[in-house]
């Protein structure tokens, strides 16, 4: 085989491998849209489930997921951001900070069902929050903490050293420098990481399984100590636990969940690309 031929073959294999990556993603979207879109209606989005979840809508699950995601971010963003500021701006490279960094990397590798069990033990049982939005949000918050910390740290560290130098040379204190120079320039990156974390939190089933998710709850939760329905768990329930649920409802639910997550990822991508465009230092 001459070199021209083998190059063509190699090129073909690379292309094939790349297409293999795209195909499943494309098919997931196509199938979910094709089968789910017919089920979407105003009523489906705003009505409670009826007739043992075989009719009606998924309003409580949508709202429940929004509550959980909001709760997770209220918890994870401040803690994650402060930790990221400490790690990137204040900590020196020593044994302790290396252990912390290692822990954060490993935290993101923990299977989500383990977070669920952890949340059950700590928040539901030990703190006695019961199965509640509070317990579920905290569990999801801990799960996305590594994402928030890692992306925030990257965003902070990508702010040019020269900006810090100038600020300090103008007599600003270290904290003023962080507050007025570093943070404003890192915000788009921090936002991107936060939104990616939100998308992850919205889609996970295992962490909410034991900590918050209700099988069926016709009314909306009234406080953070109530259980709530959530989209991923609802999808699991109507797909495996309740017989004879119309395909339109199942795929409609999947469509709404997918749309929510993709929308957040899209938002993150837009923010990031705008950041790159404005970044000319």
């Amino acid at each position: 085989m001459n070199s021209h031929r083998s190059q063509k073959l190699a090129f073909f294999c690379l292309l094939l491998a790349t297409l293999l990556v795209v195909i499943p993603v494309g098919m997931v979207v196509v199938i979910i849209v094709q089968k789910g879109l017919p089920g979407i209606s105003w009523e489906f989005l705003t009505d409670v489930p009826r007739k043992g979840m075989r009719a009606g809508g998924i309003y409580p699950a949508i709202i429940g997921t929004l509550y959980l995601v909001t709760g997770a971010i209220v918890f994870a963003l401040p803690i994650g951001l402060l930790a990221a500021i400490y790690l990137s701006e204040y900590s020196r490279d020593n044994f302790l900070t290396r252990v912390i960094r290692l822990a954060i990397v490993n935290l993101s590798g923990v299977p989500s069902v383990v977070y669920g069990l952890f949340g059950l033990a700590l928040f539901v049982v030990f703190f006695n929050f019961g199965a509640s939005i509070l317990a579920g949000s905290l569990t999801l918050g801990i799960m996305i903490l590594p994402i928030v910390i890692t992306t925030s740290r990257e965003a902070l560290e990508s702010v040019p050293e020269a900006f810090r130098e100038v600020s300090l040379s103008l007599g600003a204190s270290k904290w003023q420098t962080i507050r007025h120079v570093v943070l404003p320039n890192a915000i788009p990156g921090i936002l991107t990481g936060t939104i990616l974390g939100l998308g992850r939190a919205a889609g996970e089933t295992a962490p909410i399984l034991f900590t918050v998710a209700a099988f069926y709850l016709p009314q909306l939760p009234s406080s953070i100590f109530d259980q709530a329905m959530a989209l991923p768990y609802h999808l699991y329930v109507i797909s495996t636990q309740v017989p004879n649920v119309d395909e339109k409802i199942r795929y409609g639910t999947a469509f709404v969940l997918l749309a929510m997550v993709l929308f957040m990822n899209l938002l993150a991508t837009i923010i990031r690309s705008r950041l790159r465009k404005n970044k000319r230092w």
């Binding site: 100038v166 204190s173 320039n185 404005n278 230092w281």
Partner: protein, 251 residues
Amino acid sequence: MAAIEVKNLDFWYGSFQALIKVNACFAKNKITAVIGPSGCGKSTMLRVFNRMNDLIDGVRMAGEVIIDGRNILDAKADLVPLRKSVGMVFQRPNPFPLSVYENIVFGPRVHGGDTSRDALDQIVEESLKSVLLWDELKDKLKRPALNLSLEQKQRLCIARLIAVRPEVLLMDEPCSTLDPQGTARVEDLMRELKHDYSIVIVTHNMQQAARVSDDTGFMLLGEMVEFGPTSEIFTMPRDQRTEDYVTGRYG
């Protein structure tokens, strides 16, 4: 009158001694140039004067640097007022990615005081006037500073510094990224500024030192070889090494 008095200054990066028993006296309201080949320690010395070297791990200093009657190397020295009164212009123009206006009011905002709109407007006008940028930029205050030309950026950085009302301006190769016209204008500006400020400029451009400075110090391998009026350093140096350098035999 001395703006900065350096007595037996030693400086180490880890185990490397970058400054060796440096003595010098930088006069008030004059331009003092510090020349010498790359790596001679001139930038290091400049960064001692506002303690910017403290940002680097493993640095150590000994000796005295007296500014305003206080030894700034003292462990108890407060760096915030020091850096307020001893400002620095960097080699690369480095405005913040903000508007012209926001760049200048950064310092005054951080330091508190009167931050009413009128007061800030006045500071912006005064600062831009003192760097001769007001006429060029008075209608473009809301424009991003990153859109300015290199020379305008460097002037803006000087204006940003002047807005915090320092006493000493440290300039670390401030013209090295500028073209000859830009350099000439910044040099003119320095001559204007010396009426109100004491200026220390580090440069490896000997002609620049000869053009703008009143006093000159020549440094080599961490030592202050010779320090005196510019005219003497360039025309009748006392040390052979100075003569070799200013006549271009090395460097």
